[in-house]
Every structure is written in structure tokens, then in C-alpha cells.
Symmetry: C2
Subunit: 152 residues, 2 copies
Amino acid sequence: MPRQRGWWKRRLRGRGCRLTVPRQAILELLSKSSEHLSAEDIYFKVKKIYPAIGLTTVYRTLELLVNMGVVSKFDFGDGRARYELAANSEDEENHHHHLICTSCGKVINYTDFVNQEKELIEKTENKLATKYNFEINNHQIQFYGICPNCKK
Amino acid sequence: MPRQRGWWKRRLRGRGCRLTVPRQAILELLSKSSEHLSAEDIYFKVKKIYPAIGLTTVYRTLELLVNMGVVSKFDFGDGRARYELAANSEDEENHHHHLICTSCGKVINYTDFVNQEKELIEKTENKLATKYNFEINNHQIQFYGICPNCKK
DNA sequence: TTTGCTATTGAAAATCATTTTCATAAACAT
DNA sequence: ATGTTTATGAAAATGATTTTCAATAGCAAA
């Protein structure tokens, strides 16, 4: 089932964080976007509905949300971080991995095959957790290559 | 079988690149190190045996080696890139994935379970290549969590 | 509702890894 | 040995992200 609008309010408050307009605007945007956005992307998009927003606040909010596990941060190798709403257990729809073109930087989210990966990932996660005594709470899988356009 | 000393000479020359002292010093260092080093780490280590080295040259050489596929570049989320000698087909010993502590930044190379992953990775790689018409030539798998020290 | 405390904000300045510029030096083909 | 490039290193430039700091806005309590 998809997440309800405003589900993050409790989570923020639970952490003793305030429910501010900029934070809500950023979360609202992220939950509508299916793309991996840079901080600047988010800044400009939020600016359209809340012009007073500052880039600093975007960075700060993203850091907070990443720490809360609400947002995932990625590096696709072009020198700027990308952010997306994290998948959660109630809403698996959003879980995907990335396919990145090292020539033009294009990124494809693929959800195919993720189920087959899932079992192995879980096993590995458990084994690693035991062997290295880590508390594992996330993973990333990325494939790098050349996209159809750049092959031409 | 381990790679022979100086194996990179042909590869550089084959690309029309010159075999310079700084490049050799950097490669020599990388082939001795089992760790994931930042550009600055490499700079200081090489400086001990070749004091004239410049940080700029380190960056340039690393970029070249990454493009050649000799070195792999990683991002562990602390704002600086890490480099290690890439695994190659003759020498599988070096193939591993990463387990990263999001609290202190500690990184563990794990080679366990990589064989089991391998089959799945190859399958996925083929399927993705077909479906998205990508020419895939690399992948990264990273687990994130809290290390034993930071759990305390 | 009003008040007061404190977290949050935005602008500007600071930071820090990485790149670019440019004049000099070192490879290496001849 | 020589000449042509490619490669180098220092310094300056870049660009994403952080920090600083005074002003603002959430929200708990009255």
C-alpha cells in the first residue's frame, strides 16, 4: 500500500524535530518525484512553490532525512549527491537499484530482477552481520556501463 | 596467479601514454596497498619515495588509470573518493565488496560470499544489458551499517 | 491566545576536494 | 643527441557542501 500523505509528521516530531514549512515542502516534493534529484534540483523545484527556501536549508533537511532513514543519498560519480525517498517496508514499490552510464551520466532505476537479488542480499546481509558484528541497515547495488545513446 | 611486477607498462604504452616516474610510483604504491586510499593518502605515501610528486599529478594519474580500468574509484559517503587497484580476470584475489560504517566511516573489504553473489550478478548483468541495451562493464555492491566499535 | 524558549532558517562567507591553467621538464621516436 | 609532444607541478579557479550568525517561526506552557 502507498504511504499516506503526511506520514512523516510523526517521525519528525518523534525525533524532537519541528514540522516546518520548508521541511514539508521538501518532503512533499520528494514524495511526488520518482527521480534521483541533486540538492540543487530540489532547491529549484521547491522554490517554485515556496520561493523563500534557501539552498542551505535544502542541504540541512536532506542530511536530517538521510539520518532518519527517510531519504537515501547516492553518488553516481559526477561530483554531486543525489537524493530519493527511501523504500520502506510497507511500500516496497520504490525499491530499486541503479544502472549508470559512465559516458553521459544517465541513470536508470531498475526494479527488474530485484526480487531475485533480494534473497541473496538478505542472506549476505545476515552472514556479514554475524561475521563482522555489524548492524547492517542499508545496501546499494549499482551497475556501470555505456547507454544506447552513447554507444552510437 | 598474482600479477607480475610492471605489468602495467605495456598497457600504458599501448594507449600511447608515457611511462613516467610519477605514474610508476603511484602504480607501485597501489599494487602494494590492500586498502582503499584517498587521493591525498596516495599523495603523501608516494611523496615518501618520490618527494617531487604533486597532488595534481596524483589526481590526473588516478583519472587515467580509472579510465583504463586499472584502478577502481569508490565513494563511501565522506566526501572524498577512494581508489584501489581493480580486480582483473587473471587475478581474482582482489575482487571484493564493501561494508561501510555510517558512523565512523570505517570500511571493510569482504571477499566472503562474493562467489555466491557472482552468479547472480552475471545473470542480472546480462538481463539488464539486454533489456536496457547497455554495455555493462562494472558494478558495485556496498552494505552500510554500524560497526562493532560504534555500537558500544 | 499570548508568551518565551529554542530549533530552524536564509544569506553570506568559509571549506575542501577536485580541476584548470600555464610555463617548464621529461619521454621517447627518430 | 635532437625535436616533438606529452606530462608535470604550482598556483589559481571551480563547485558542491558547510559553517556562521543574526533574525524568524514552532510549539509547549501559561
